[in-house]
């Protein structure tokens, strides 16, 4: 809760920086603020017993609209860590653009939306969270105003996103019509009390909400916007979209379906299983034929969305599926940040065509090694975090009726390994176009060292994150 307030305040502070002329110190200020918000997740984690009543009081004072329980705090932690890494990656973006304070404000407001999505416990806060996250992203996607691809990305994202929001609202209205409450616990209570005797339009509402959120996480039949938007947006904004936005949307999806609609898992489970199957097949096969690394990462993010959806689909009681999704989103976010940092440094001008990676091992061996670790993690090769992420997701799915998805996932992961290796082969075995070494600035070097070590570390000792709720 405190973290949310800190980030909101930081966003407003960023807008004041232009007037009161402290633009120069804004960047370190934002980094410190995000760290402070992150520290607050630890403060709120284990409230002492006399504190507990105060926490309940605070929650009650907001009429149970938002609830920072341990699950919400854990996902907030992942989002804030990723955001911190992202700000280091994006330091250049904030130096070169005009109206930098507005950019800071928009990114921070998007973070507010992301934190709300991890912690909502009412349909109104869900909808507000989705919109607060989306609207700054529409603008940021179009933020390179002179570039026609960026304009197209922003416009496409806005039109499609508004359409999805319409579906979300329609779904919320139908669910409210059946249950008479916006409260997540109230809806769950209604379902378990009605013993299957719920009106048909309630299910229609649930499925509409599923469609809207599948759009936000770019799962398969609703993924058409993703490659164009990811490719057209500035590279750093693409990195933000595929990490923070995705983690937040998954936290929301998980909270809604595994808490609110937990008892009717077999109704939405079938549809979600089909969505996952389609995402796996379409994304991996299309990604294999891409020539742009940025576009390839967009398709790979669709396939990662499918993996995280599997955790939601398992719909287990207790913390099994939650901690596996948490681990997956952390591993995926850190791996993505690392690979986008390399992509940003390697191809500043040609928009991520794979030829830019040719002979990178000669031009800058450090970048090549970091890219290898990041891609191996995304592909799910052992010792890296990505392997255990996939492993934990698979174990949650065993014992559910959707075991057939495991077969699809294994086969498509093998196809996935092919396109990740295409980049590795380009880096190590193709002759370089120019012999000029690629320069990397200090902050990016530090960022790459941290993310690479982090990927290896949580791959070696995954227990710390998997056992976080015990």
């Amino acid at each position: 809760m405190k973290g949310l307030f800190i980030i909101s305040g930081l966003g407003i502070l960023a807008m004041l920086a232009e007037i009161f002329k402290f633009k120069k110190i804004l960047y370190p200020l934002v980094l410190v603020g995000i760290l402070a918000a992150y520290a607050m997740t630890f403060v709120d984690w284990n409230p002492p017993t006399d504190h507990l009543s105060r926490l309940d009081e605070l929650t009650a004072s907001f009429s149970n609209m938002i609830r920072f329980d341990q699950v919400a705090l854990a996902f907030s932690g992942v989002i804030l860590v990723t955001a911190f890494f992202w700000f280091i990656l994006a330091s250049h973006y904030f130096e070169n653009e005009t109206n930098i304070t507005d950019h800071f404000a928009l990114v921070l407001f998007a973070l507010v939306g992301a934190l709300m999505l991890t912690s909502f416990s009412n349909m109104t806060t869900l909808f507000l969270g989705v919109e607060i996250l989306s609207i700054p992203m529409y603008v940021l996607a179009a933020s390179r105003k002179k570039d026609i691809a960026s304009n197209e990305a922003g416009f496409k994202y806005l039109i499609m996103g508004s359409f999805a929001s319409g579906f979300l609202l329609f779904g919320i209205a139908l669910v409210y019509g059946a249950t008479g409450t916006f409260d997540l616990g109230g809806i769950s209570h209604y379902i378990s009390n009605s013993h299957g005797d719920v009106p048909a339009f309630f299910y229609a509402g649930v499925i509409m909400m599923l469609i809207a959120l599948c759009f936000k996480v770019s799962a398969a039949p609703f993924h058409f916007w993703a490659p164009d938007v990811y490719e057209g947006s500035p590279t750093v904004i693409t990195a933000l979209m595929s990490t923070v936005v995705k983690t937040a949307a998954f936290a929301a999806l998980m909270r809604l379906f595994n808490v609110g609609f937990h008892h009717i898992g077999d109704v939405w489970g079938q549809i979600m299983a089909v969505v996952i199957g389609l995402s796996l097949v379409i994304s991996n096969i299309t990604a294999a034929s891409q020539q742009s690394v940025k576009r390839m990462l967009a398709y790979s993010s669709i396939s990662h969305a499918a993996f995280m959806l599997m955790g939601v689909l398992a719909n287990k009681n207790g913390f099994d599926s939650i901690s596996s999704i948490l681990y997956y989103s952390l591993a995926y976010s850190v791996g993505s940040i690392a690979s986008f940092t390399v992509l940003y440094n390697v191809s500043k001008d040609n928009n991520g065509h794979i030829e830019a990676f040719n002979g990178l091992s000669k031009r800058n061996p450090f970048l090549a090694v970091c890219m290898v670790v990041a891609l191996l993690s995304l592909a799910g090769i052992p010792v890296t975090a990505g392997f255990f992420a996939k492993y934990f997701i698979f174990t949650t799915l065993i014992g559910t009726p959707y075991k057939w998805l495991l077969g699809v996932a294994v086969v498509t992961s093998a196809i996935g390994a092919y396109y990740y290796f295409k980049v590795l082969i380009a880096m190590y075995f193709k002759p370089a176009i120019s012999t000029e070494p690629v320069k990397v600035e200090m902050s990016h070097t530090v960022l790459l060292i941290i993310t690479t070590l982090f990927t290896l570390a949580i791959g070696i000792v995954p227990g710390y994150i998997i056992g976080i709720f015990k």
């Binding site: 009429s63 005009t98 507005d102 928009l106 009412n122 507000l128 105003k145 048909a200 229609a204």
Partner: protein, 170 residues
């Protein structure tokens, strides 16, 4: 009259008109006519709010939507000189696909809402539920957090609109 109460008659007429005008919004080729039909649709919806005892909401709906936002729409259309019948022709296949997709959604909605007339209404509102006083009570007690956080949403939208619309000044 025919076994229906006056409220039910009003509901039927308002619903029929709302659907008719909404269809006209889509079917007219002239954008100005579209906007005017949309205004009429909003009036019908406001009538529905009145039937639901939400008087304040009905008035605000007319003032904000029909009054302010639709006038803005008209201004934009007139300023950008869009008031010609220059809707681009769509291909047959996209029309067919759109018809199938829309038809399926209609099918699902009709199927889902069939039989719901036998449902019991859970909560009856009081007759003064829509008055400003009660609305304010709910807004500033139960919905305090969403109400406050909506300011972040509006701020983000404003900053974004200005950022996109403004000329680049170094």
């Amino acid at each position: 009259m025919l076994g229906y109460t006056i409220t039910q008659w009003l509901f039927g007429i308002l619903s029929f008109l709302a659907i008719m005008f909404a269809l006209m919004v889509v079917f007219t080729r002239n954008p100005i006519n579209s906007v005017l039909y949309l205004v009429l649709t909003f009036f019908c919806i406001a009538g529905h709010y009145l039937l639901l005892n939400a008087q304040f909401l009905a008035v605000v709906h007319i003032v904000v939507y029909a009054g302010a936002i639709m006038v803005l729409f008209l201004f934009v259309i007139m300023l950008m000189n869009l008031n010609q019948d220059t809707e681009p022709q769509k291909t047959v296949i996209s029309k067919v696909v759109a018809a199938i997709a829309g038809g399926l959604l209609l099918f699902v909605m009709v199927g889902a809402l069939r039989g719901s007339e036998q449902l019991q209404i859970k909560q009856y509102g009081h007759s003064d539920i829509g008055l400003v006083k009660n609305l304010g009570n709910v807004l500033f007690h139960d919905f305090l957090f969403p109400f406050e956080i909506a300011s972040v949403l509006l701020l983000a939208a404003m900053v974004g609109a200005i950022m996109i619309g403004k000329k680049e000044i170094k």
